[in-house]
């Protein structure tokens, strides 16, 4: 566990370093688009923001801001600090992401169990086709179609913008569709695998009905192989929210992420990278820990190895 955390911190450091190198490799700076400003003024502005310092000094400052979580003001939108921008946008993006995950997990597991039960025959073929269709639809297509059918053709939900719970329904659905069907496909394969195990026969022989076999024995074991996929999937949901935010005009983090890079807004880029790599890695560690806790075989293996 300790080595895992150290490794994670090293990875975050590497990601930040790579971001820094790429940022500095980019010709130009946030102030190059200023019109009619004399060169001397620009030099002074750059000096003011420390952009004329040696790279190693800038790198040190960049790491220090990452450590203290204080990146100062945004270079492009100087009336806001980076922290304000993130505190304003992050809760919105995360709310969408978390809602989508809460919807996608049980839904995917349920559909997967259903498909495994249907196994064989025409109904199973149709279910497979539908779930394949579900994973084949890009998020932006799902979002745009939902917007058209459930907000424009049949006006049940608001078309766009951010406000009460009704505003979150369509974005959450759009975000959840892909992951839900992805989980269902994994779940089906995993369940079919579990059903060949001897303990399932034992459970059947002692007189449990199929539902009890599923809920008491099969489900728990079938969920284990899914865990490694959940971490990256959750991260994808968070990133995927950029598109959904765009379609539904939601003021989350997405717009800032894209704009920060195009504006070469160094502090904002740094903060966004930090935020996303930390989320990604925390999810990895979390999933790993849950997996170890549920699957005693893994801990056993590791103690043999060490």
């Amino acid at each position: 566990m300790i080595t895992k955390i150290v490794r994670t911190l090293v990875t975050v450091l590497l990601a930040l370093t790579m971001t820094f190198i790429l940022m500095k490799a980019i010709p130009g700076d946030p102030f190059q688009d200023e019109q009619g400003v004399p060169e001397e003024v620009l030099v002074n502005v750059r000096k003011h923001w420390g952009l004329e310092d040696p790279l190693i000094v800038q790198y040190g400052r960049f790491l220090r801001s990452a450590l203290t979580l204080d990146f100062g003001p945004s270079l492009k939108y100087q009336e806001h600090t980076v922290r304000e921008i993130i505190i304003q946008g992050a809760p919105i993006s995360f709310r969408l992401g978390v809602q989508a995950l809460i919807l996608a997990l049980p839904l995917g597991i349920f559909i997967g169990a259903f498909m495994a039960a249907l196994h064989g025959g025409i109904s199973s073929a149709i279910a497979t086709l539908v779930s394949s269709l579900g994973v084949s639809m890009p998020t932006f297509v799902a979002a745009a179609s939902l917007q058209f059918f459930l907000a424009i053709s049949i006006p049940i939900f608001p078309v766009a913008r951010w406000g009460d719970f009704a505003h979150t329904v369509l974005p959450t659905l759009a975000l959840a569709i892909g992951p839900a069907f992805h989980i269902s496909r994994l779940m089906k394969a995993s369940l079919l695998d579990v059903y060949t195990q001897p303990y399932i026969w034992t459970a059947r022989m002692k007189g449990l009905n199929e539902f009890q076999v599923l809920t008491k024995h099969a489900l728990k074991n079938a969920l284990l192989p899914l865990l490694p996929y959940i971490g990256p999937m959750a991260a994808n949901i968070l990133v995927g929210s950029f598109v959904v935010e765009r379609v539904f005009a939601i003021p989350g983090l997405g717009q800032w992420f894209v704009n920060s890079v195009l504006n070469r807004d160094y502090p904002l880029i740094g903060a966004m990278t930090l935020l996303y790599s930390i989320i990604l890695l925390v999810l990895h560690i979390l999933v790993d820990a849950i997996q170890k806790r549920l699957d005693k075989r893994l801990t056993l293996q590791e103690s043999y190895l060490s």
């Binding site: 639809m137 932006f140 992420f257």
Partner: protein, 275 residues
């Protein structure tokens, strides 16, 4: 659905789309980027089977041209996967402990940087358009493949037939390509076919956000993005590109599923194809 049906259906969908993408522009008398302002936003009719957009451009040829772009991006991703990913994974599995550690650590690190961030930063370095998407694929797109190849190779590298070939004096690369490859080709093929939609998705995703392929060139992502503001009045501008990308990826998904099942006997037993 068994493996054969899945593969057949997948190939059928893909071939139809390829046929559409390459034949439609020949049959149509319109150019993808030529504008006809008198004929803008017209609904699907005999002259324009998919209708036209807000500049009067024929959507049929624009969707066809966008599908060609997606196919190209996908094919490129597959080639990069097979070149870099397979060699990287092979090197890690067969190159000894140290090389394995180094190569897989690099792969893990690349994997932990958000893909979108890589593309966005590259976009600023080399400019918007196709190049940053391509470079991002070269830089990080093959990591998953390298992991799969390594895992598969490690699983077979102590098999008796490998030992036998080694005793007969074969070189490691010869053993890998002639003896191991046939045994691990299934997962590799399935992963290749599966990495194509990922590349297609990311190109469409970036073009949708307006930082990928630049206008006037049509991409399935930018066609969908263009349709959004006028969705209430001209919904067909959404349906055709959205349908095209969904079908394209569906075909690839079915093909990949089929290939995986076909080469994985355990799956075949489970599915009752062989008893």
């Amino acid at each position: 659905m068994n493996a054969q049906t899945s593969i057949r259906l997948g190939i059928f969908i893909l071939l139809s789309l390829i046929l559409f993408a390459f034949v439609a522009p020949i049959l149509s008398s319109f150019e993808p980027n030529s504008t006809h302002l008198v004929d803008k936003n017209s609904a699907p009719n005999e002259v324009h089977p998919f209708g036209t957009d807000d500049l009067g451009r024929d959507l049929l040829v624009r969707v066809a041209s966008a599908v060609r772009l997606s196919l190209f991006v996908g094919a490129l991703a597959a080639v990069i996967d097979l070149l870099i990913g397979v060699l990287w994974g092979m090197g890690a599995a067969l190159g000894g402990f140290k090389l394995d550690q180094v190569l897989m650590s690099i792969a893990d690190m690349l994997y932990s940087i958000p893909y979108l961030l890589v593309v966005l930063l590259l976009t600023v370095v080399v400019g918007q358009g196709f190049l940053p998407i391509f470079l991002a694929m070269v830089l990080v797109g093959w990591v998953q493949m390298a992991r799969i190849v390594r895992a598969q190779t490690v699983a077979v590298k102590d098999a008796e037939y490998v030992l036998a070939s080694r005793i007969l004096g074969s070189k490691t690369t010869t053993i890998f390509f002639t003896h191991m490859m046939p045994n691990i080709i299934g997962p590799i093929l399935a992963a290749t076919v599966l990495s194509i939609p990922q590349a297609i998705f990311s190109e469409a995703f970036l073009s949708f956000l307006g930082i990928g392929i630049q206008p006037p060139q049509a991409s399935l992502g930018s066609l969908v993005a263009d349709a959004l503001p006028a969705l209430r009045y001209y919904p067909w501008r959404l349906f055709f590109p959205a349908g095209a990308i969904t079908l394209l990826v569906l075909g690839l998904t079915l093909l990949s599923d089929g290939l995986r099942d076909l080469y994985d006997p355990r799956q075949r037993i489970l599915k009752g194809d062989i008893v």
